[in-house]
Subunit: 194 residues, 2 copies
């Protein structure tokens, strides 16, 4: 049973990434990078307004704050969900394979678990791409004194998107359903260039 | 007084980044990204060895593990050090400026604090660049099954390097010592392209 990273002290989270156990790994690290980035976007969107803020700026920032808060919750969940999905793949590979029936059940369980381990980083890619669009709105309407925070958020979101892509592709490589593979590959390509 | 991020539960660290208080901000977030990345490199360098590992691989991984563990400690410290350095700048700007003497003391304190707030992200840049070199050694000698973790680490280190650069430049812009500014700018340019 893995620890619940989101409840652990930050130093223990880093130690868990550093330990030779395979989880938590790059998938959770990518979700953490994007969760940190949308948190920075929430900070800038919520900064005390300057006098020069127009009514349009205020309305745009309120909208973006609501949407990045939602993304923050989902990316925070993905940190632990990625670890759980990987652990499920490992558990499926350990199922018995003595009889033909056991072999078939094991193969089905592995394929199910691999889909789960694909869906979590795919969700991180979707949220990171959505947050990159939100970063544009924060940069356009937010306090210019925090522009370096928006710049850091963009760099972290690109890293989260790229890291999640690597994790989607690793799992997709072992999935046998060709229609599913094609659909996911197409979406990955769209999200990567978007 | 800011909280000590490294001791806080991860969910509270994300909430602190999301709060409208200016700290923690992009500097601490960049240090966190690079600290996460070197933790992943430590995991891969410490993975149980495969049978195909040569003596040379084992020796190279042991060396790189020692060096990424050291970087991990220093990047973890930088998460809170960046916040403290920024808070020191804010405190210096609040010093009294009623008399000429007070004005001179305030200016000197601001300049000292700005140097501190430049040195912390500059240190994160140095460590991130050093870790990118270590990632090459991990990729060359480490277990190929963890290559996506190395890929995530590289993406996060590039984001940490870029985010720290943005924070160096924001602070450098208010520093008056031209020789210091030139020296830092030159190092930033070297580290960014290295």
């Amino acid at each position: 049973m893995s620890i619940v990273l989101i409840d652990e002290p930050l130093k223990d989270v880093l130690a868990a990434f550093a330990s030779p156990d395979p989880t938590p790994g790059g998938g959770s690290a990518s979700a953490l990078a994007s969760a940190t980035a949308v948190s920075l976007l929430a900070m800038v969107a919520g900064l005390p307004k300057t006098r020069s803020n127009s009514e349009e700026d205020r309305a745009a920032l309120a909208r973006v704050l609501a949407s990045v808060d939602r993304m923050r919750g989902r990316l925070a969940e993905a940190i632990d969900a990625d670890t759980a999905a990987y652990d499920a793949v490992v558990a499926a590979y350990k199922l018995p394979k003595g009889t033909d029936e056991e072999k078939a059940a094991r193969t089905a369980a592995i394929q199910r678990a691999l889909r789960g381990a694909t869906e979590v980083p795919l969700g991180v890619m979707r949220l990171s791409a959505e947050a990159l669009a939100a970063a544009g709105a924060v940069a356009a309407h937010g306090n210019p004194s925090a522009s370096s925070d928006v710049g850091v958020a963009i760099a972290l979101l690109r890293a989260g998107l790229e890291g999640a892509r690597l994790n989607v592709e690793v799992n997709l490589g072992s999935i046998k359903d060709d229609a599913y593979k094609r659909a996911v590959s197409d979406e990955v390509a769209r999200l990567s260039t978007g």
